[in-house]
Amino acid sequence: MTETEVFMQQVIYGLSNGMIIALVALGYTMVYGIVELINFAHGDVFTLGGFLALTILGALGAAAFIDPATLGEGSHWLLLFALVIGCGLFCGVVNVAIDTVVYKPLRRASKLTQLVAAIGVSFILVNIALFWGGAPMDVFGGGNAAAASKDFPELLEGSNLLGEESNVVLRLEDIAIFVVTIPLMVGLTLFVKKTRLGRGMRATAQNPVAAQLMGIDTNRVIAATFMIGGFLGGAASVMWSLYSNTISFQMGFRAGMDAFTAAVLGGIGSLPGAMVGGVLIGLIRAMSDQYIETRWTNVVVFGVLILILVFRPSGLLGLKQREKV
């Protein structure tokens, strides 16, 4: 492999991983923007999305879907989109339910109480995933190893699009990530900018009390925010599962950590910030793996985070925050 090929390859991997991180980061940043809560359970809602995707594939008979011959041209994509939407909706509903049951009664409690509640919810979800992993289905290993990582089938054909001889590998999975994430991000931006509910969100983010006085149903806005954040997390979990071909009950931990870092890096509360932060973290990881050493990658990522926060305390694209309690 020449140096250029290596660099190209790392850019592909960095962008692909980064786009997924960005999608998860949006969930953190949106919720924080509206209710100023670091939703630590977000990463674990993401985990449940991956488990649902594998359950659906298992129920459909995953094996049939790995063989391109059993399905017509294009139906893999159809299935993928169906999974993205289905798991997205599921995670959105779970997220709204968590908000209604746990966060809403604590809305006026101290920030610390809410934070601890979020961590508690996170633990509950991890354990739900653990039980789910023990489900008596073939795809879950017949319930023998609840905690083992599960193999996630390759929905899309796995050959190299640049030809088997090429040193640079570009697979349909990489393309799929862009095909799914970019429209979601564009759609979200348009939604927040153009729609009535989106305007309500921006108003609530700026000043919830004033927004309420202006007749905005802030509870509805908050529920919508959790719904959308969860949806993006669910969509991301399907893409992640497809890309890594593995799910495990702990997948949300690292995804959540990276995404939270991305959200802070880009400026928490800022939508474009989360997207930029996610992609940036993906790229930094890839470049550090290649040009420094894998064992230093976490140090590099968090080093960059600290550096950026020293010079721009509110993140890359974050606005100067009003006084927070």
């Binding site: 492999m1 290596v6 390859q9 790392q10 991997y13 960095g14 991983n17 997924i20 633990f123 991890v126 354990n127 653990l130 290993g141 023998n144 190893a145 609840a146 905690a147 083992a148 990582s149 599960k150 193999d151 796995g158 190299n160 040193n167 590998v169 697979r171 992640w240 890309y243 890594s244 071909n245 593995t246 495990s248 009950f249 702990q250 997948m251 931990f253 690292r254 995804a255 990276d258 990881r285 890839a286 793996d289 290649q290 050493e293 894998t294 064992r295 990658t297 976490n298």
Partner: protein, 398 residues
């Protein structure tokens, strides 16, 4: 009222203590029961239970009880230093505990070894393979003395160590025809140790080590790292790590990243969970797993009896380490029986002394002894691969 309860409690305590103290002795095990090692450790616990059932849960007049402790936490899905420390303290605090079977992970052993050493409790590991736990010259200069504050050896193991395993793996890499190897580890005691031995031996036998790195066990994928290994021209990738430190993901990314190298991994991946995590497609014909022992199906003599009994009792195939759990318990029980037969008092000191004397023990793993470091003299190793979704042995090295 308070005083009544207090008195009642005293009476109860007085009547219960002698019952437990005099007649019940305990063996405990500390293994990661939460997390993906669960299938493996369940199988090991079954092995221990079989050994205890074989003596009818009795040593002389004393009742032999067994407790199965978990040294993992759900947050980590893997062994947890805090839990392992608690387990050691719990064992020390309970005077009826005469033997501690564990740990599974070498890193966990580092935590409990010095504690149990000071308390004089015999510790028999069915699975630790890091050489620096018992031998000098493999790790830090203060190892293994730092694990033996009392100066005495209380730690034994029934499994061959990684100085054998890493070397067997390097020899096998050469047999595969590789000239360039890339060495990875998971940055844990076990993984780093065995990868270090592999690297050293690979250089000795003339293989070129084109890269050494430690990976992040919680990363989502290793595609970037695979690209780096591809650029380095690796023909064999050695990963010192376990299923729990993401060996399955690495195997997959090697395939999807288009790296046409063989993968060799140590015994920490010799469990069904590894095949489940990687998917057998990513392993068949391209991954090799070394293991300090042989496939349970290939055991002979008492080992064959164990295998047959296990299948009958638990209605399933034992995992690779089940027989080591069984053997660890057997060797402790044999020592206890020798103490009882000689009319001695069953306590921590007498059991420890007898375990240390184990010589030419004929068990499920053949006939072997403990050497002065507490290591087994058994050195059987096997190289395995995956075929049709299950492990199959490629070769056995004596």
């Amino acid at each position: 009222m308070k005083t009544v309860f207090a008195r009642l409690a005293l009476v109860l305590a007085a009547s219960v203590t002698p019952l437990l103290g005099a007649d019940t002795i305990k063996i405990v095990s500390s293994l990661p029961r939460t997390g993906s090692a669960n299938a493996q450790t369940t199988s090991m616990v079954n092995g221990i239970k079989m050994a205890i059932a074989e003596v009818g849960g009795k040593i002389g007049d004393a009742t032999l009880a067994y407790e199965d402790w978990d040294d993992a936490s759900p947050q980590r899905g893997n062994w947890d230093p805090a839990v392992e420390a608690q387990n050691a303290d719990k064992a020390i605090a309970d005077p009826s505990v005469l033997a501690y079977i564990g740990t599974y992970n070498s890193g966990a052993a580092k935590i409990s070894m010095p504690k149990l050493n000071e308390a004089g409790i015999v510790m028999v590991s069915p699975a630790n393979t890091a050489p620096n736990l018992t031998k000098s010259g493999f790790g830090e200069s203060n190892e293994p003395a730092v694990y033996r504050p009392s100066g005495k050896v209380n730690y034994f193991r029934v499994v061959p160590t990684d100085d054998v395993q890493g070397a067997v793996a390097a020899d096998f890499a050469k047999e595969l025809g590789a000239k360039k190897v890339f060495v990875l580890n998971d940055r844990e005691v076990y993984g780093k140790g065995v990868a270090g031995v592999f690297e050293k031996h690979a250089k000795e036998i003339g293989l070129e080590v084109v890269g050494v790195d430690g990976l992040d066990a919680k990363a989502s994928n290793y595609k970037s790292l695979v690209t780096k290994m591809k650029q380095a021209g690796a023909e064999v990738v050695y990963f010192g790590g376990t299923t729990q430190t993401n060996a399955g993901q690495l195997a997959k990314d090697i395939v999807s990243g288009g790296l046409k190298a063989k993968l060799i991994v140590p015994d920490g991946c010799y469990e069904k969970a590894f095949i489940e995590a990687a998917g057998s497609k990513a392993l068949e014909g391209r991954a090799f797993i070394t293991f300090g022992g042989v496939d349970p199906k290939l055991l002979t003599g008492k080992g064959k009896d164990f295998y047959e009994n296990y299948k009958k009792t638990y209605d399933g195939e034992p995992e690779g380490y089940a027989v080591y759990g069984y053997e660890a318990a057997k060797v402790v029980i044999a020592a206890m029986q020798r103490v009882a037969a000689a009319g001695g008092k069953l306590d921590r000191a007498s059991v420890l002394a007898e375990v240390a004397k184990t010589k030419d023990f004929t068990g499920a793993l053949g006939t072997w002894s403990f050497d002065g470091n507490g290591d087994t003299t058994n050195r059987t190793m096997s190289v395995n691969t995956v075929k049709d979704g299950d492990f199959t042995t490629v070769k056995v090295v004596q």
